[in-house]
């Protein structure tokens, strides 16, 4: 009985750890997006400072491609919107993941308790020394 619970516990634990990893991944990508957001904002402002006499280039691979100033401005704005959208998506994803991981945590704790009880019953007088996560 205790063994079965133990196995279940292990599997749940792994699942939980996986969840945590996913959460952290989403977090980091969201942070990246944040950085891009600020960068694009700066680009937008600096493009505003320039006038049409300056040529604007875009680096595509090893090539600097000439761009129109207005086109560049439009492109940057579009990119900004895109980034904002992505951030929102990641936000919701993150929330969802948090919720799931919370559920998982509860399951884990209950399983742990069961396991401890089972162990206690099985062993009897031994102290329950299972390390809590």
């Amino acid at each position: 009985m205790a063994e079965a619970i133990h196995k279940k516990l292990q599997s749940e634990l792994e699942k939980y750890q996986q969840m945590q990893k996913d959460v952290s991944k989403s977090m980091s990508s969201r942070q990246k997006l944040e950085a891009q957001l600020t960068e694009n904002n700066i680009v937008k402002e600096e493009l505003a400072l320039l006038d049409s006499q300056n040529t604007v280039y875009k680096l595509i691979g090893p090539v600097l491609v000439k761009q129109d100033l207005d086109e560049a401005k439009a492109t940057v704005s579009k990119r900004l919107e895109y980034i904002n959208g992505e951030i929102q998506r990641y936000e919701s994803l993150l929330k969802e993941m948090e919720r799931k991981s919370e559920q998982h945590r509860e399951v884990l704790s209950s399983l742990q308790q069961e396991y401890q009880r089972a162990q206690g019953q099985a062993v009897g007088k031994f102290q329950k020394g299972k390390k809590k996560i």
Partner: protein
């Protein structure tokens, strides 16, 4: 922060537990980490700012010459002499793989704009650092406060008996009760009443004695009442105020309040002392066929000569002054019939109260004492205004006094009777 507070709140005693320093330690560690991070970031941004500034310098001096002779880096290991030309044409990286060709001056503007961003970041970091520094200091103080120094001790008392906070019987708003005056006496009273009162162990013996004395006084006052057959119940919450300097008298009132109040009573030794408007009534008795009858109103009088309307002559006012002097010679204590609400008549037990002082007191009281509950007998309206008081010759006073004393004691005042019926 809350963590620490919760810890401190969980125990009810002065804490010396292990949790507190541990928690505080951890908190401080976290604080310090954040502060360190902030510091490193601030350093980084400072460096960036410096770089931008040197860049700006370079930009300003670059267009000075048409071309510069420089050593051009060739690969990672070699340099080659060369020339720097088109000194005003710059390709600026705007970010996110965007480039723009601009002049040195335009580049300068761009750099300025970037520096603004850097400054913002720096300010934010500074704020955060200061914040966390303050938090750190605060936890230090907190630790010291609740920790093991002798100077600061978290004073906590264990509340054993909740009844201590309640006042037991609410005596304030019953008729014939004086809330403020009775406060002191109430304290003692209430502590006696409460059960499980831990703290009032001292002075119990003396209280017993006091109760005995109270009983004595009460008997005396009852006698007095019967003699005068006057009971004035002055409504609580109105303008009469009485203060008693002696605790004994307060006890009397307290006891009386316990027994649901009584009428006024004068201590036997102070027959002519007036300490309350009620005492005035007592004095204003008519003698009819040798018996003192309570007058319906002190403004009215049986004899026409003595009647006084509101516009009295000077003689009446003079008489009034005389009377005041007579009355004010000594004060007696009144019963629990007055509430101490305003600065009306204040009475003190000073047997030699000087008449100017009493006069002043009388004059100070300009309120109206109105009885709340109408009783079958007359309800005198007492409005003390200097010209309005009737003139009662002192002769009458003297008459009343000795005669009152000789009255049969069995007559009970109507007020008291009704009150006793009610309760």
């Amino acid at each position: 922060m809350t963590y620490l507070h919760d810890q401190m709140a969980s125990t009810g005693k002065v804490k010396r537990s292990k949790d507190l320093p541990q928690g505080a330690e951890r908190l401080k560690e976290e604080h310090r980490k954040v502060v360190k991070d902030c510091r490193s970031q601030i350093e980084h941004w400072n460096k960036v700012e410096k770089d931008y500034e040197s860049l700006q310098d370079r930009l300003r001096t670059l267009p000075d010459k048409l071309s510069y002779d420089i050593m051009v880096p060739f690969g990672p290991l070699a340099f080659m002499p060369g020339k720097l030309v088109h000194t005003n044409e710059l390709t600026v990286l705007l970010g996110d793989n965007w480039f723009a060709k601009c002049s040195a001056k335009q580049a300068d503007t761009l750099v300025e704009h970037r520096k603004k961003h850097v400054k913002n970041a720096l300010d934010d970091l500074q704020k955060v650092m200061k914040n966390f520094q303050n938090k750190d200091d605060f936890t230090d103080d907190l630790e010291k406060l609740a920790g093991d120094t002798e100077d600061f001790v978290d004073i906590r008392e264990e509340v054993i008996n909740e009844e201590e906070f309640t006042k037991g019987k609410r005596l304030a708003h019953k008729p014939n009760s004086k809330p403020k005056q009775e406060y002191l006496s109430d304290l003692e009273e209430d502590t006696e009443k409460k059960e499980g009162d831990e703290e009032r162990t001292t002075g119990l013996l003396s209280e017993e004695e006091l109760w005995a004395r109270l009983d004595e006084l009460e008997c005396e006052e009852e006698l007095q009442d019967e003699r005068y057959r006057h009971a004035v119940r002055i409504n609580t919450g109105k303008n009469t105020t009485l203060k008693f300097s002696e605790r004994n008298e307060q006890k009397v009132q307290a006891k009386r309040k316990k027994k649901s109040g009584k009428s006024n009573g004068l201590s036997p030794h102070e027959s002519y002392k007036i300490t309350s408007p009620a005492d005035i009534y007592r004095v204003f008795v008519d003698l009819v066929n040798g018996e003192p009858i309570p007058r319906k109103s002190i403004l009215k009088s049986r004899s026409r000569e003595n009647s006084v309307c509101s516009d009295t002559s000077e003689s009446s006012t003079a008489d009034f002054e005389e009377r005041r002097a007579a009355f004010g010679r000594s004060w007696s204590h009144d019963d629990a019939t007055h509430s101490d609400t305003s600065d009306g008549i204040t009475e003190e037990e000073s047997p030699t109260g000087t008449s100017p002082r009493t006069n002043g007191r009388f004059e100070a009281f300009t309120g109206t004492v109105i009885e709340k509950e109408p009783l079958p007998c007359s309800i005198p309206y007492l409005t003390i205004a200097p010209p309005a008081l009737p003139t009662i010759p002192e002769r009458k006073l003297e008459e009343v006094g000795p005669e009152a004393l000789q009255e049969p004691p069995k007559r009970m005042s109507k007020f008291k009777a009704t009150r006793l019926h009610q309760t």
